[in-house]
């Protein structure tokens, strides 16, 4: 064999060996806990829900799944467990579409939970690409197929996290790891599953959530009228609702679905009233259809917090038009436990009518 040919084989052999070593490291450390719960090192979790949920579904024990968007992402599992008397797993994912939520829930339902608590609003049913076309959705990891496992084991990101998971054992490097996590270079740094995406207990809530922020968001929306209506298409939303929500619920008749509509600030609907009245009518019409359709299924209960005036009219509860504070999280959980704001099958449109009259009557007081 010629020298270049020998060198070529050495080169290819060494490359393959290094790749295999990285894959072995990733398999042993398994930062996502896909293959087993963490044993050799303290488990660490990532705030990237789309990635992390794939591991949580496989590594955690739960009988209830908590699903939703950014409006549900900072709930604490301990609060859910205490209030509803369940053992929950939060899989809420910021900015998620109904297609993504359906996909994640479908994977979680293979673990046979008894109940799904689902934060649902009309916005999740906007048209969106398939989960396989979503850039940040590792769909094959949920499927645990060869492509997904290969992508995980042969990933540079996984290798980096695996290395740091080990390096954290050395005290001086633990400080470096904290710094890298603070710089968002390392993704897996949360050591308590309960705290994933939760606001730190020490956070000054009044700084994050206050009326002036809500009013700034309101003023911004008035100046940018196209944004508040973006993605609202009645036919598409209906189609996606039937496919992603009804399809999933009907497929799992033995699972209880507790669906709630979150308490947006009243200014969200008032902004629609001012700049996008057609969109507001679409929301009412779509909500009426959705609630009626959901309540036609025996394994579903619906709660509608959009008319919860004590929450929605207090603008200090929000950081923009829709995102509410952790204080409201607890109120929502308490409301779900007590059956407050539950929509009855006899009067499915009552909450929407109350919301309509609140929106019609509301006038934002001008600051002096």
């Amino acid at each position: 064999m010629s020298k270049p040919a020998k060198n070529l084989l050495r080169f290819l052999g060494a490359s393959v060996l290094i790749v295999l070593l990285a894959a072995a490291l990733n398999f042993i450390v398994d930062p996502l806990q896909l293959f087993r719960s963490a044993r050799f090192y303290p488990a660490v979790y990532s705030p990237d829900s789309r990635m992390q949920n794939a591991g949580l579904i496989r590594s955690q024990d739960f009988d209830t799944v908590f699903m939703g968007t950014s409006l549900a992402v900072h709930f604490r599992q301990s609060d859910i467990d205490r209030t509803l008397g369940v053992r929950s797993l939060k899989l809420a994912t910021a900015g998620s579409t109904s297609a993504e939520q359906n996909f994640i829930l479908d994977a979680a339902l293979r673990r046979r939970p008894k109940m799904i608590v689902w934060e649902m609003d009309e916005w999740i049913f906007r048209d969106a690409p398939d989960v396989d076309a979503e850039a940040y959705m590792p769909a094959d990891l949920y499927r645990m197929n060869a492509r997904g496992i290969a992508g995980y084991l042969l990933g540079l990101d996984t290798t980096r996290e695996s290395l740091w998971a080990l390096l954290r054992f050395f005290k001086p490097l633990e400080i470096v790891a904290h710094g890298l996590a603070a710089a968002q270079y390392l993704k897996f740094y949360e050591t308590r599953v309960n705290e994933i995406n939760a606001l730190p207990a020490s956070a000054d809530l009044a700084l994050f959530y206050n009326a002036s922020k809500t009013k700034v968001a309101y003023a911004y929306n008035l100046k940018n009228p196209s944004e508040i209506s973006a993605g609202y298409n009645y036919e598409a939303m209906l189609r996606n609702f039937e496919r992603d929500a009804i399809g999933l619920i009907e497929k799992n008749p033995n699972v209880e679905f507790r669906i709630y509509f979150p308490p947006y600030s009243i200014l969200q609907f008032v902004a629609m009233r001012e700049i996008a009245p057609d969109t507001l009518q679409l929301v009412y019409k779509f909500s009426a259809y959705v609630i009626d359709r959901l309540l036609s299924l025996p394994n579903v209960t619906v709660s509608d917090f959009r008319d919860a005036q004590d929450i929605t009219h207090d603008l200090d509860n929000y950081l923009d038009l829709v995102h509410h504070s952790p204080v409201v999280d607890l109120k929502v959980l308490a409301g779900l436990a007590a059956g407050e704001h539950a929509v009855s099958r006899e009067a499915p449109l009552a909450s929407i009518k109350r919301l309509q009259s609140q929106v019609d009557a509301y006038r934002l007081k001008r600051e002096r």
Binding site: F11, A14, V16, A183
Partner: protein, 478 residues
């Protein structure tokens, strides 16, 4: 199909190589046909609907070229044939790439309400320019008669088809005709693999690695002073490692087939003037614009003023070639202005005393680099107003964020800057000589150590590990 994908690296490339060398035993034509077919398969993976357009373009240009080469036509008729050929190419390019842009501008001015949603065939700008050069050279009498399979391979050759380098027929077709390239050469395959590994590492580890920080300036949130600079610099390095990484991969892949592609980058951020920068950045495009646009416009032969006008036209059109948007035109025009200033300085500026030469070079390097960064803001921004907004943030150091992320990103940007300014480039590491058709013939002692081979293997391994599912090359849209 992407170079930085498992299907390409582990399936397509090995099959293409094996078929090429196996058929090489059967003669000179079969491997050419195989490679052309493989190139069409490569193209059809993501652009199957545009394969007929590509084939039609090849057939059209070959026929026009044949008329210009083979037929003894009257000069006026020859010019008419050339005009038809070039106009046909530009018409197709214009329809697919610029019709939507034109409609949007007409709508903005006249409220015409025209809506056009035309998909852009990937690589159309590259294969159109390649063939225009062929037609012009055929008209000038600088082309011998090529066989159709060789010509078709020259246009469709998959290492360059989607994003260059822009090839020249006189450079490529004689290489395709050589019987020697059909025999596997372990040395060339090894060197090709190492160059490919460097390119893959540049793309998947360096370009994709710095990509998250680009959003600091170009994301939805208005940046502060430090974020605007970090984002602009991060994009400066991302674009370089992305595009030069792709070019390295193309050169490496081609080298495995025994074909030497031209260099496309030569450490552009080491340039000490804008003229120097354009001799180092996207070199094959610069050469094309010089030979087939700037010189035919008159170049520098008609006085200083017309030279500057020609420079502005060339660079503005060069900008438009990159994308159908005013931001690209602004980027090109800005470089046109830079070039005019550079030429004026060369003509009328003071001479630098010898003792200040080193200092002047450093100052020139920094000034050139900053000018390029400012221009990249136009290149990357979604709109002119957005670009101006970011630039305004970059000159107002009143608002700082300077959190952990910004500090870390500054460190990363600094590392990338060092890499660009201090590290040798791929051709220097591999001693790649395109014109001499040699690679690694005169390596330094350290490059002969086994450690070099294993370091290169590690680079390939890291490049493969860095492959992400959704990572396209920035310049695919050109």
């Amino acid at each position: 199909m992407l170079f930085n994908s498992y299907p390409f690296i582990f399936v397509f490339l090995p099959i293409a190589l094996a078929g090429y060398f196996l058929l090489g035993k059967a003669g000179n034509l079969a491997p050419i046909l195989w490679l052309a077919l493989a190139s069409l398969v490569f193209y059809s993976f993501s652009n199957w609907q545009f394969v007929p357009l590509l084939l039609a373009s090849v057939a059209f240009n070959y026929a026009v070229g044949l008329l210009l080469i083979a037929k003894r036509l009257h000069p006026g008729l020859r010019f008419a044939v050339l005009t038809v050929g070039v106009a046909g190419d530009l018409l197709v390019l214009g329809t697919f790439k610029y019709a939507g842009f034109l409609a949007a501008n007409l709508n903005a001015i006249f409220s015409t309400g025209i809506t056009l949603n035309i998909l852009l065939p990937v690589g159309i700008s590259f294969y159109t320019f390649t063939q225009i050069a062929f037609l012009v050279d055929a008209y000038r009498g600088n082309v011998g008669r090529y066989a159709l399979p060789h010509y078709a391979l020259f246009v469709t050759y998959f290492p360059h088809l989607i994003a260059g380098p822009i090839l020249h027929h006189r450079d490529m077709i004689p290489q395709f005709e050589r019987a020697k390239t059909k025999r596997p050469d372990a040395h060339l395959i090894l060197c090709g693999l190492i160059i490919f590994a460097i390119g893959l590492f540049k793309k998947t580890c360096l370009a994709d690695g710095i990509q998250p920080y680009v959003a600091m300036a170009f994301g939805p949130v208005t940046p502060t002073f430090d974020q605007a600079w970090i984002g602009a610099l991060a994009y400066t390095f991302q674009l370089y490692f992305d595009f030069s990484g792709y070019s390295d991969m193309a050169i490496g892949i081609s080298l495995m087939f025994g074909i030497f592609l031209p260099l496309n980058f030569n450490s552009p951020y080491k340039a000490t003037s804008i003229i120097d920068f354009w001799r180092r950045w996207h070199m094959t495009l610069s050469q094309f614009l010089r030979d087939y646009l700037y010189i035919p416009l008159g170049g520098n032969r008609r006085g200083t003023i017309l030279r500057y006008v020609n420079l502005m036209i060339t660079m503005a059109l060069g900008g438009l070639w990159h994308g159908a948007a005013w931001t690209f035109v602004a980027w090109g025009a800005l470089h046109g202005v830079y070039l005019c200033i550079n030429h004026a300085w060369n003509n009328f500026g003071p001479a630098i005393p010898p003792r200040f030469t080193r200092l002047a070079e450093i100052a020139a390097l920094i000034l050139t680099f900053l000018s390029v960064v400012v221009a990249w803001v136009f290149f990357r921004a979604d709109s002119l107003s957005s670009a101006l907004d970011i630039l305004s943030r970059m000159v107002h150091p009143t608002q700082f964020t300077w959190g952990y992320r910004e500090m870390f990103a500054t460190g990363i940007v600094g590392l990338y800057a060092l890499l660009c300014w201090i590290a040798p480039n791929t051709q220097a590491i591999m001693n790649y000589d395109h014109k001499g058709r040699t690679v690694s013939e005169k390596l330094a002692p350290w490059q002969r150590w086994p450690a070099f081979l294993y370091a290169a293997a590690a680079v390939l391994a890291l490049g493969v590990l860095g492959i992400q599912q959704h990572s396209e090359f920035i310049h695919f849209r050109f």
